[in-house]
């Protein structure tokens, strides 16, 4: 069960204009999100492989995703993005995209992968395909929600696509810091995805030309 823990400390900074880098048309939000500790890194199971590849898998520290929820006018087609399968991991391991985004899944290893998802927001199975195959297998993510990406061959491979019904979102850095600029003024809900269990939210009022400081605090 996902639990939505909501708590926020909100500071409207009157110094925001100074930190606004001279923007006079859009609002800015910056702040921090509490991130969970890094889980222990994965191990690749290669019990029955004749050719033993993929020694130490790279570790990817957790990051969060922050987005503004509200009624926004439709914009043009979202860009085509990629999640690469390389060195037996998905890169990036967390990708926020807008509803309607096409994501390609290039295989850059010299072994097969089999990308699939059973998440209700997007159920698909691309099967096995070779690195040089064109067009690169892709999917349209047309429903908001969390999509967990897996490889049917390599159990340790996992990534998350966060499909968001908003054009205003950003990925935090590994310390949980974020900054969004050129936002439309108005009243919105600011959401922060921490992990599959926890999404924080807070109502915000954005004023043109000002910077809002937000600190999310989880339970």
């Amino acid at each position: 069960m996902l639990r939505f823990a909501v708590w926020a400390a909100l500071q409207l900074s009157f110094m925001g204009l100074l930190a606004d880098r001279g923007s006079t048309t859009g609002a800015t939000i910056e702040g921090t999100v509490p991130l969970p500790p890094s889980p222990a890194p994965a191990v690749m199971a290669k019990r029955y492989e004749i050719v033993s590849k993929g020694g130490i898998l790279s570790t990817i520290p957790p990051v969060g995703v922050v987005w503004l929820e509200g009624n926004f006018p439709e914009e043009g087609n979202p860009p085509v993005l990629q999640i690469v399968q390389k060195d037996f991991v998905f890169d990036p391991a967390l990708l926020p995209v807008r509803v309607g985004t096409v994501i390609e899944f290039p295989n850059e290893d010299d072994e097969y992968h089999n990308v699939f998802s059973y998440s209700p927001a997007k159920r698909f199975d691309l099967g096995r395909y070779m690195p040089e195959e064109r067009p690169i297998p892709s999917q349209v993510f047309d429903q908001a929600g969390m999509v967990t990406l897996r490889c049917d061959i390599h159990e340790h491979m996992r990534a998350i696509i966060l499909v968001i019904d908003s054009p205003y979102f950003v990925t935090t850095d590994t310390r949980g810091r974020f900054r969004m600029e050129e936002l439309p003024a108005g009243d919105y809900i600011l959401k922060a995805w921490i992990n599959s269990r926890e999404t924080l939210e807070i109502p915000v009022r954005l004023e043109s030309g000002k910077t809002l400081q937000v600190t999310f605090t989880g339970d």
Binding site: M1, L2, P39, A40, P41, A42, V43, M44, A45, K46, R47, Y48, E49, I50, V51, S52, K53, G55, I56, T59, D110, E111, Y112, F116, S117, Y118, S119, P120, R123, F124, D125, L126, G127, R128, Y129, M130, M146, T148, R150, E155, H156, R158, S196, R197
Partner: protein
């Protein structure tokens, strides 16, 4: 068996209700993350994982294959726990512990076994060479790559890996004539050409050069030996078995392999006076193809067994071709054709019959994944044993929870 049926229904209902939502997958993912350990800098890593399986069998007549059971139904629970460990880029180790009613399905009491353990050293990160020691699956053929429950489209193994011949490593045959009769009791008392994944103990070297992959192993027991003889505490290295495989992978889709194995098929103990005179030779050709949602495999094996005092070697030829197709993201279907034939026996120059019953078997299975951690396989096998006119079906089902 009403209790068994009730148990199945309750379990299915529970899993179905649990398994529908994304929250179950998220819970299992968190569980998996909590079963990992890492040292500083992440150079030393451990991961525990496993499966919980519940298999059910329904058949008429004697128990098929290597099943030990007096009834016509059998329920087989199994817990398999895997440890995978990586120390730097060069060292990798693994182990498999099982709790079940026997390595092959049976109505025996629950037992716990260390089935596999090995340490592997890979000097170069591109995998051109790996050295391994321990108790581990054979390098012969390709079926071992998918023999575990989660990645196996079937519950039963191909005939090559589970159909008992009339030879037994418990005792030598009395005479050529004794092999012209069907065996008594369970097939489990006899030996197939390759006993499942062949987790015997030994050492191996493997690697690749361009499109060629190769592997060699030296083990304490033959491919046909029973699981009880795999530990070195039961079978020493006085009569080792040498096996090897050479495979050509022109691209990721295709693999063509040739394997060979030679060793003594005699079991340990006093009944085989000179185990060195009981030789098993296996020559096996295999192929596989995989692209998008289709996977194909085929293996053709010729096995020769020599018996002390017999004039001629006993030969059997066994093959299968298997296809698996993912129809929808959560639904796959599998089909397999198996066939096994035996050579003629001679007694003072006269033909006295074949030393086994020709057998054909068609296996069909569907696989439904409730989510990324739970799946159900339903299988039906149709047997045709030409000489004995035996024509029967075996039904089986398996529910697997992966963690």
């Amino acid at each position: 068996m009403r209790p068994a049926r009730t148990f199945w229904l309750v379990l299915l209902g529970t899993v179905s209700s649990l398994a529908g939502g994304q929250s179950f997958d998220a819970f299992m993912d968190r569980l998996s993350e909590n079963l990992r350990l890492a040292g500083k800098e992440g150079q030393m890593r451990l991961h525990l994982s496993g499966t919980v399986d519940l298999e059910g069998y329904r058949y008429e007549g004697p128990a098929p294959g290597l099943i030990r059971n007096d009834d016509e139904t059998l329920l087989q629970p199994r817990l398999s726990v895997f440890l995978d460990a990586q120390a730097g880029p060069r060292w990798y180790g693994f182990a498999q512990v099982r709790v079940d009613q026997g390595f092959d399905p049976s109505n025996a009491d629950l037992e716990i076994r260390l089935d596999e353990y090995a340490l592997r050293f890979t000097p170069w990160e591109d995998g051109r060479l790996s050295l391994q020691a321990g108790q581990f699956a054979t390098v012969v053929g390709q079926w071992v790559h998918r023999h575990l429950s989660w990645h196996n489209g079937f519950i039963t193994a191909p005939l090559l890996y589970e159909n008992p011949t009339r030879l037994s490593d418990l005792r030598p045959p009395y005479s050529e004539y004794s092999l012209t009769y069907p065996y008594d009791g369970y097939g489990y008392y006899y030996n197939p050409v390759i006993w499942g994944p062949g987790y015997a103990r030994g050492i191996s070297a493997s690697g690749h050069w361009k499109q060629l992959e190769w592997a060699l192993e030296l083990k304490n027991a033959s491919l046909s030996s029973r699981p009880e003889y795999w530990p070195v505490t039961r079978t020493g290295f006085q009569h080792p078995t040498v096996s090897g495989r050479l495979a050509w992978r022109p691209d990721l889709r295709w693999t063509f392999g040739l394997s060979a194995s030679e060793g003594s098929w005699a079991g340990p103990g006093e009944r085989f006076e000179d185990p060195g005179q009981y030789r098993q030779q296996v020559f096996l050709a295999d192929f596989s193809y995989a692209h998008r949602h289709l996977q194909l495999w085929g293996e053709y094996a010729v096995a020769r067994f020599s018996v002390a005092g017999f004039g001629e070697d006993l030969e059997t030829r066994v093959w299968f071709i298997e296809a698996r197709y993912r129809i929808m993201p959560r639904l796959s279907a599998s089909l397999r054709w198996n066939e096994q034939r035996y050579s003629e026996l001679y007694y003072y120059g006269n033909e006295i019959g074949e030393w086994g019953s020709r057998l054909k078997r068609l296996d069909a299975a569907i696989n439904w994944r409730f989510n990324a951690h739970t799946q159900l396989v339903l299988e039906v096998d149709h047997y045709w044993a030409e000489e004995e006119g035996e024509d029967r079906f075996v039904f089986s089902g398996r529910l697997t929870l992966r963690f």
